[in-house]
Symmetry: C2
Subunit: 412 residues, 2 copies
C-alpha cells in the first residue's frame, strides 16, 4: 500500500484565493508521487471570528448548539474551495464535512470530544485515487447534531484521522518553519529544532508557542503518531515530533517559551484550613474561568496567599467570581496584576539534571530581573516576572543554555 499522509492546513494557509491555489499545487505535487493524502483544513483566516462576531450582535449569550451550526460553515467553505482548486489542476479530489466523514463526538457543543471515527467513506475515496479533503474542527453527535471541537480543533481532527487511518505521518502546516528554541522575533539566533519529544511540545504549546493544540499533542503521544510541523509556503523540513528524543550530547533545555497574555491574581490571607483551597477552585471552575499556574506556599502564620494566572481576557470575569469566594472563605482580599509575563524553560533533559533551576534563577538574578512566582513540572520551570523585562529574560536564558548552538539529537 502506498504511503498515507495526513496534512493539516490552518487558517492562514488558506487565507486567500491565491493561498488556496498554492496549497492545492503543493498537495497535487505530493499526490503525483503516488502518496495517498487526506487533507484537513481550517476555516479561511478570520472567518470563524467574523461568524462569532455576528452571533454576538444578535445576543450576548448564543446557544452553543446554534453556535456550532454557525461556525462549522467556515470549514465547509474552505474544503469546497480547496477541492475546486485541486480539480483545476486536473486531479480528483472530494471534500467532506465532519458529518460526511463520520466523525462522531459527544454532545458537548463548542468543545466536543471525538468518540468515534468511521473510516469507510474516506477509505473508499482513497481507493478511488481521490485526494480527500476533510473539514477540520467539526463532527456530529450520535443524533447528527453538528458539533465543534474547540479552538485548534482542526489539529485534533488531523491527529485523530492519522490514528484511525494508520497514517505514516501527520503533517501540520503553518506559517512558521517549525518549532524554535525561542521566538525568533525576540532572539535572532534562535534555532529551528529538527526533532522534539511529545512532552516538550506539550509544555511549549501550553506555554504559548501556539503552533499546535495541546489536546492533539496528547492524542499523538498516546498513540505514538509521528507529527511534522512545517511551513505551508516552503519546501524545507520543519520540526518532527516523536516519542523519545535520544540526546547525542547532554542537552538540558530544548526551548524558551514566553507568554504575555496572562494576568496574576493573588488571594491574600487565606485561612490555612483543610478544604479551603478546594472550595476556592471549585467556585472558580463553576464560574467557567480557566486558570493556569497555581502557587501556594507553606503557611507559617495560620494564613497563606494563593496565586494563580488567568488569560487576560478572562480577568474581569475571574475577579468577579473571586471576590465572592473571598468573603465565603474569610480571606483577606484580592490583588490582581496585569503587568506580568510568564517565562519558561522546557526540556526532557532536565528530568535527570538538577542544575537547570539554579542556572535559570541565577542568570535572571544577575541581570537584575526579579522572580515573583515559580512553578515547575518534570520537564519545565516557569517564572512570573515583570512584563517589561520579558524579552530581555528570553535572550538571557537562550544564551545561558546555549540554544543557538547546533546540537545533534535523533529520533529513537
Amino acid at each position: 500500500m502506498p504511503k498515507l499522509i495526513i496534512q493539516k492546513y490552518g487558517g492562514t494557509s488558506v487565507g486567500s484565493v491565491e493561498r488556496i491555489k498554492k496549497i492545492a499545487g503543493r498537495i497535487v505535487k505530493t499526490h503525483k508521487k503516488g502518496t495517498r493524502i487526506v487533507v484537513v483544513v481550517s476555516a479561511l483566516g478570520g472567518t470563524t471570528d467574523e461568524l462569532i462576531n455576528l452571533a454576538y450582535q444578535i445576543t450576548a449569550a448564543p446557544s452553543e448548539r446554534e453556535m456550532d451550526m454557525l461556525i462549522s460553515t467556515g470549514e465547509q467553505v474552505s474544503v469546497a474551495l480547496l477541492a475546486m482548486a485541486i480539480h483545476k489542476l486536473g486531479r480528483e479530489a472530494v471534500s467532506l464535512t465532519g458529518g460526511q466523514v463520520g466523525i462522531v463526538t459527544d454532545t458537548s457543543h463548542t468543545k466536543a470530544r471525538i468518540v468515534d471515527i468511521n473510516t469507510k467513506r474516506i477509505k473508499a475515496e482513497l481507493k478511488n485515487k481521490k485526494i480527500v479533503i476533510v473539514a477540520g474542527f467539526q463532527g456530529v453527535s450520535p443524533e447528527r447534531e453538528i458539533t465543534t471541537l474547540g479552538r485548534g480543533g482542526s489539529d485534533l481532527t488531523a491527529v485523530a484521522l492519522a490514528k484511525v487511518l494508520k497514517a505514516d505521518v501527520c503533517e501540520i502546516y503553518t506559517d512558521v518553519k517549525g518549532v524554535y528554541t525561542a521566538d525568533p522575533r525576540i532572539v535572532p539566533e534562535a534555532r529551528k529544532l529538527s526533532v522534539l519529544s511529545y512532552e516538550e511540545m506539550l509544555e511549549l504549546a501550553s506555554l504559548g508557542a501556539q503552533v499546535l493544540q495541546s489536546r492533539s499533542i496528547e492524542v499523538a503521544k498516546r498513540y505514538n503518531i509521528p507529527l511534522h510541523v512545517r511551513s505551508s509556503f516552503l519546501e524545507a523540513e520543519g520540526t518532527r515530533i516523536t516519542k523519545e528524543v535520544k540526546m547525542m550530547e547532554g542537552v538540558l533545555v530544548s526551548g524558551i517559551a514566553l507568554n504575555k497574555n496572562e494576568a496574576k491574581i493573588t488571594i491574600c490571607d487565606v485561612p490555612d484550613k483543610p478544604g479551603v483551597a478546594a472550595r476556592i477552585f471549585k467556585e472558580i471552575a463553576s464560574g467557567n474561568v480557566n486558570i493556569d499556574m497555581i502557587v501556594q506556599n507553606t503557611s507559617r502564620t495560620g494564613s497563606t496567599d494563593i496565586s494563580f494566572t488567568v488569560e487576560k481576557t478572562e480577568l474581569s470575569r475571574a475577579t468577579k467570581v473571586i471576590k465572592k469566594v473571598v468573603s465565603i472563605v474569610g480571606a483577606g482580599g484580592v490583588i490582581q496584576d496585569n503587568d506580568i509575563a510568564k517565562i519558561s524553560v522546557v526540556g526532557v533533559g532536565m528530568r535527570s539534571h538538577a542544575g537547570v533551576a539554579a542556572r535559570m534563577f541565577g542568570s535572571l538574578g544577575e541581570a537584575g530581573i526579579n522572580i515573583e512566582t515559580i512553578s515547575t513540572s518534570e520537564i519545565k520551570i516557569s517564572c512570573l516576572i515583570k512584563k517589561d523585562k520579558a524579552e530581555m529574560a528570553v535572550k538571557i536564558l537562550h544564551k545561558e543554555f546555549d540554544l543557538g548552538k547546533k546540537v545533534k539529537r535523533r529520533q529513537s
Copy 2:
C-alpha cells in the same frame, strides 16, 4: 391540534442583524398565539453570490458537487442566527440543515429535485413546542451528499414542507406587499391583488414578477397548498394564492407583467423540413442554454424564421451554440436583438373571452407601439416590443383592462 404555519423568509428579509431581530420578533408574536411554526430561511442577502464569486476566482468550471458544498453554508448561517435571535426573545427554537430535516433529493447537484422528506425530526421538535427553523434551498442525496435546489429553491423547500406536514398555510415573506396588477414603480395606480389563482401566479412568475419560484407554485398547485405572499416588514395581508378564483364580475385580466432581461435570437431561412426544429433545440439544450418564448410562423417559401428569447446573461453562450447549428442545418444566418422587452397580460378570465388579444394589440397599436413577436398560452398573451416603449406599454395596458379599479374576487 393547533394551526400549523410554514413561513418562508427570503434573503432581503434576513439581510442584516437588525432585520433578523425584526423577523424573530414577528415569529415569536405569532407563536405566542399558540400557532405551530416552521420557518424556512434563505441565505443572508448577497451571501450566495459572494460564495459563487469566490468559487469562480478559483476556477472557471467549479464542480457542481463542490459548489453545493460551498453555497449551502449560506442558509446554515442564517438559520443559526435566526434561532439565536428567537432564543434572545425567550422562546425555544431549533435550527436544522436540509440534511438534518431529512430532505432527500436526487443527485443533480445545483438543481436537485426533492424525492422525499422525512417529517420525524420536525414533528418531534414541534411537539416539544419549539419553533423549527429549516435551511431553505438544500437537501441531501441518498448518499448524504449535500445538494441544492437551484435559484429560488427556498420557496420550494417551504411549499414541500407545507405539503408533507399538512400545513394550514404557507406564507412567503418578501420585500413587497404582495402581487400587484403591474409593477407599482411603473404604474402608480397599480393595485395589490388580494387573491390569485395558481395558474395566474405561475404565468406572472415566469414572466418576471420574481416574488415566487415557478417550481414551487407548480407543487402548491398540484397539492392544493394555500400560499400567502406578504411583506416581512408590515402586518397587512398580502396576496393569497389558491385553487380557483371565482369572479364576482367579468374580470378578464389580473395583471400586466414586464420582463426586460431577455434578448431575442432569430435564426433566418431555416429549411422547412421535418426534424430541423428538433435538431436546433436539441443542440441548444445540450449547450445548456435556457430558452423562453419560441415562435415560428407558417412557411410559404420552403424556408422559415425561428425566433426565441434567452436571458441576456446567456446571450453570448447561446449565440455560440446557435452559430454551430446554423451551419449544420443549412440555415441562412443569425440575428440577435438586445433591445426588446416582453410585455404580457395574464388572467384566468381570458380562457373564456376571445377579445383580450384584440384589445391588447389594439391599444398598443393606437399608441404607436409596434409588436414584433406574439406568443400566447391559455391564460396569457405575451408580446415582444422595443425596450424604450416598455413602461409606456405597461401603463396603457393597465388602463385598457381597468386594473386600477377595485374588483371583488373570492376564493372558491
